[in-house]
């Protein structure tokens, strides 16, 4: 029998001793719960779960000094649960946030993500900019992956980091906001610790500061909210989002790490949060930020430690090889 499925389940989940009503009770109002957050040893009804998520994000923004009211925020939006839930939460909390959708050319997955993002923005009268990688730079993520033999998630991540900063900088935003949740950050940390990627550990923070050379401040307000909770929030708020996983990301390292962590979380509720916040509170000091000297990319002007930024190098290699193939 798995842990948590037997009669030893915590009494705080309020099983009735009469055996008639086994439902979890809301921690706040004692009404019928729709979700149990095991790491908090608490159940929540719909309204109190939504309020709980809003409080978690508000506290995160405040504790880490992410941004204040009046700063211009740009959110990277994918059409998935995390970014759309975050857009909703920040708007409810009174922040003005614009969105940017990066169309990376990944077939129906990209088209569906765009549709969900546009419908969300239109319904709430929010501003969404669309950047088309192929239209503006002449290649898609699948093409970059294929012709350079680079792992798709690596080409994708590199392109997203570049494009988000580039558009936020060009449009004069103060802060770049991303929807990385607790599971995302814990899985990345897990991978970096397993391989002792010290450079990456020194960069893993909920707030990455701006640089004079043009990197915007980047913040992760969902870092205290688990992936399952952002999905539940989206469902409870009636947010339609892309459920299907990216076809190129299936089985990637991050997802595998998440599955392993979830197996451990099932046995030890709270383990993911302890792992991540233990690092941020007590471990990160041993891996101080060590930002490289940056200059302007000779091609695009974005900050880079080399002469050409990684995105321009990828773009050059991809576009040249696509042209070579076409001329054959």
């Amino acid at each position: 029998m798995r842990n948590g499925s037997g009669p030893t389940t915590s009494s705080k989940y309020a099983r009735s001793s009469r055996g008639v009503d086994d439902a979890v009770k809301c921690r706040v109002c004692r009404g019928r719960a729709v979700i149990a957050v095991r790491r908090h040893n608490a159940g929540f009804c719909k309204d109190h779960f939504i309020a709980h998520i809003h409080r978690q994000v508000e506290r995160t923004i405040s504790d880490y000094g992410m941004f204040g009211h009046g700063e211009r925020l740009l959110l990277g939006v994918s059409g998935g649960k995390d970014s759309l839930a975050l857009w909703e939460i920040l708007t409810v909390l009174g922040h003005e946030v614009d969105g940017v959708y990066l169309h990376l050319g990944i077939g129906d997955y990209s088209s569906d993500g765009l549709r969900f993002s546009q419908e969300f923005a239109a319904r709430r009268e929010l501003s969404l900019e669309v950047v088309d990688l192929e239209g503006e730079h002449g290649f898609s993520v699948p093409q970059a992956s294929e012709v350079t033999a680079r792992v798709a998630c690596s080409a994708c991540g590199l392109s997203k980091r570049y494009l988000l900063n580039e558009v936020a900088f060009r449009r004069g935003y103060d802060v770049l906001v991303v929807g990385h949740n607790l599971d995302d950050e814990a899985a990345v940390l897990w991978g970096n610790v397993l391989r002792w990627q010290v450079d990456y550990l020194s960069r893993q923070r909920p707030v990455l500061p701006a640089s004079e050379e043009g990197l915007l401040r980047k913040v992760k307000p969902l870092v205290r909210v688990a992936e399952r909770e952002t999905a539940a929030y989206a469902v409870l708020r009636g947010i339609d989002y892309e459920i299907e996983e990216c076809p190129m990301a299936s089985g990637n390292t991050i997802n595998r790490n998440k599955e392993w962590l979830n197996l451990m979380e099932e046995r030890s509720p709270g383990l993911k949060a302890q792992f991540l916040f233990g690092f941020l509170d007590r471990g990160a000091a041993y891996f101080p930020p060590n930002p490289p000297d940056l200059a302007m990319c000779g091609e695009c002007g974005q900050p880079t430690p080399g002469e050409l930024c990684a995105f321009c190098r990828l773009k050059k290699a991809t576009v040249v090889r696509i042209a070579d193939r076409r001329s054959l």
């Binding site: 948590g4 499925s5 979700i35 998630c153 994708c156 952002t230 999905a231 469902v235 197996l263």
Partner: protein
Amino acid sequence: MKVLLHQTRREVEVRGPRTVKALLNRLDLVSESVLVIRGDQLLPDEERLRPDDFIEIRPVISGG
């Protein structure tokens, strides 16, 4: 009951489980990785299930 599994994009018939937790155990799924939905309602692990239920199991892991 009928169960829609998004992860494998298939609908299966499952007989027997009386709670969400039992259903997840039967399907060898970890509750931390999925949401279980009936109609437009989220179901916690202890929720009782009926033989005529239509249940959606939605993965929550995404890593683009």
